[in-house]
């Protein structure tokens, strides 16, 4: 197998005195879609936040493209090639759609190149182009999520990390977001995603990890996890939701 693009080993993270992760292991290989599932509070978001530097690990290692990044200043992470879509579709509500995307391209100093990056995302999300001059706060939930995804793509990252991309969206937009994820997969992007919609996430994913109480519980191919009766019972509510 290829070198993993992202390799997490023995990761332990605490918020103050409360330890949340107890030795999490996770790999993402180039071109792979990896889904992380698990009940609320399992530590899925914390794994992601530790990777991008918004939470600090007390033990373990996080290597990205061979480089140890667990002690790196968080604002240096995007330049390595990691894009992040935060849980709760957080956009800069008081800025226009276009300015939100421009912020995703903040690290591109040259105006013309920034412009091209914005246009590339507009080409992929025509809906955002239609609304480019609108304040992001006035978009619907699904459009805001699209914007958050677009913003994470601005620097053409090698790994895109998505935290609950479909959470809280209307069914129509859930479909739309999953279509976008399929699109990203088709483009050959490498994705690491956390999803409460475990069935759909595992259908899409090459591999999946189930976390529980800050520890790895199951890890297998997406299809194998979907077929595993225990996983179905524990995380998919008996039968997979369509």
């Amino acid at each position: 197998m290829t070198e993993p693009l992202l390799a997490i080993r023995g990761l332990e993270t605490a918020y103050g005195a409360v330890q949340v992760l107890f030795g999490v292991e996770l790999d993402v290989h180039p071109g792979e879609i990896v889904a992380v599932i698990g009940p609320n509070g399992a530590g899925k978001s914390t794994v992601i936040k530790t990777v991008i530097g918004l939470a600090r690990s007390s033990k373990g290692s996080i290597r990205f493209a061979g480089e140890e990044i667990s002690r790196m200043a968080p604002h240096r992470i995007p330049a390595l090639g990691i894009g992040y879509v935060p849980q709760g579709r957080i956009v800069f509500a008081r800025m226009t759609v276009e300015d939100n995307l421009e912020m995703g391209a903040f690290l591109i100093g040259e105006r013309a190149r920034r412009r091209r990056a914005v246009d590339a995302v507009f080409a992929q999300f025509p809906r955002l182009h239609e609304r480019r001059a609108q304040l992001a706060g006035s978009l619907s939930g699904g459009e805001q999520q699209m914007l958050a995804i677009g913003r994470a793509l601005m620097l053409d990252p090698r790994l895109v990390i998505l935290d609950e991309p479909s959470l809280g969206l209307s069914p129509k937009y859930v479909d739309l977001i999953f279509e976008q994820l399929v699109d990203l997969k088709r483009q050959g992007r490498t994705l690491l995603m956390v999803e409460q919609n475990a069935a759909r996430a595992l259908e899409l994913a090459d591999r999946g990890y189930a976390l529980e109480l800050g520890r790895n519980r199951y890890s297998d191919s997406g299809a194998a996890l979907l077929a595993n009766p225990e996983v179905r019972r524990m995380y998919l509510g008996g039968a997979g939701r369509a």
């Binding site: 604002h75 330049a79 935060p86 957080i90 008081r94 800025m95 421009e102 995703g104 903040f106 690290l107």
Partner: protein, 293 residues
């Protein structure tokens, strides 16, 4: 009383009020910028204004520089001072409970006031430049007031356009909305906060240099201004840049009218009456507060 309905008198008061209000606006915009970007209320903000006023006074007394010309020195120096102050002190209280930042900036305020008293004493100073007035139709505008008002408006609008249009200015707004998301866009939030505090200090000092031409001031003058400044940002909306701009102009005009109709004592109190009125009608301020997390 009759003469107050005279359009010339009303117009004269309006012009005077807008020009004075422009200085309030410039000052309050800086205070609101810091609050917006880092949720810190800088009690020393008006003391930074007086640093600018005394700098202009010294430059006038020693080199004979007109305060408008002195801006070329005062503004960059104040920016660097604010940038450094953020780096060594204010950064330590970012993200901490509001009380921590209130105490830290109160400490800076006490330090600056007492340094001022030590160096300059408590006598009132002023910078007498540009005697005479512009006469426009029936209106008379003292030259220093016209210059101070124009400079203040130009600077406040300049910073507004910086925030709206430039990459760095937009990054500043991004940090004020969601610092964590700004970070994962590659924005160094610490550096943005240092620039924001530097800008705010530069705006305050510029307001002070302009103030030096039209008011008498001592190191203790800051108390009055910081209170009005608080009233203005609450009236305009906490963290809302344009709100502070409008709030400052509004206060200037209302003070001018109240001073014209009643007495200057009433004019001094009107900021707080206005504050109560706005809070009763619109608790988030005229333009809405930036949501505080």
């Amino acid at each position: 009383m009759q003469e107050l309905l005279d359009p010339v008198v009303l117009g004269q008061l309006l012009i005077g009020g807008l020009l004075a209000g422009a200085l309030y606006a410039l000052l309050a915009c800086g205070l609101n910028l810091v609050f917006g970007v880092m949720r810190i209320i800088n009690i020393a903000h008006a003391d930074l204004m007086l640093v600018g006023a005394f700098a202009a006074w010294v430059l006038f007394a020693t080199l004979g520089l007109n305060p408008v010309v002195a801006l070329a020195l005062v503004v960059p120096a104040a920016f660097l001072f604010g940038y450094g102050l953020q780096a060594v002190l204010i950064e330590r209280v970012v993200g901490r409970p509001l009380l921590a930042s209130l105490l830290a900036t109160y400490g800076v305020s006490i330090l600056l006031v007492n340094l001022g008293l030590l160096i300059f004493g408590s006598d009132y100073k002023s910078v007498p430049v540009w005697q005479g007035s512009f006469v426009v139709g029936e209106f008379v505008i003292p030259k220093p007031r016209a210059a101070a008002g124009a400079v203040a408006v130009a600077l406040a609008l300049g910073v507004y356009f910086f925030l709206e249009r430039t990459r760095l200015g937009k990054a500043m707004r991004a940090v004020s909305e969601h610092p964590h998301v700004a970070t994962i866009c590659g924005i160094d939030t610490r550096r943005i906060r240092m620039i924001a505090f530097g800008l705010a200090a530069a705006m305050a000092a510029a307001a002070g240099a302009m103030l030096s031409m039209i008011y008498s001031f001592s190191p203790l003058t800051s108390a009055d201004f910081i209170q009005k400044c608080f009233a203005i940002i609450i009236i305009g909306g906490m963290g809302n840049f344009l709100g502070a701009l409008y709030g400052g102009l509004l206060l200037g005009v209302v003070e001018a009218y109240v001073g014209g109709v009643l007495t200057t004592q009433w004019a001094e109190a009107v900021a707080y009456l206005l504050l109560v009125l706005v809070l009763l009608v619109r608790p988030t301020g005229l333009r809405g507060a930036a949501d505080v997390r």
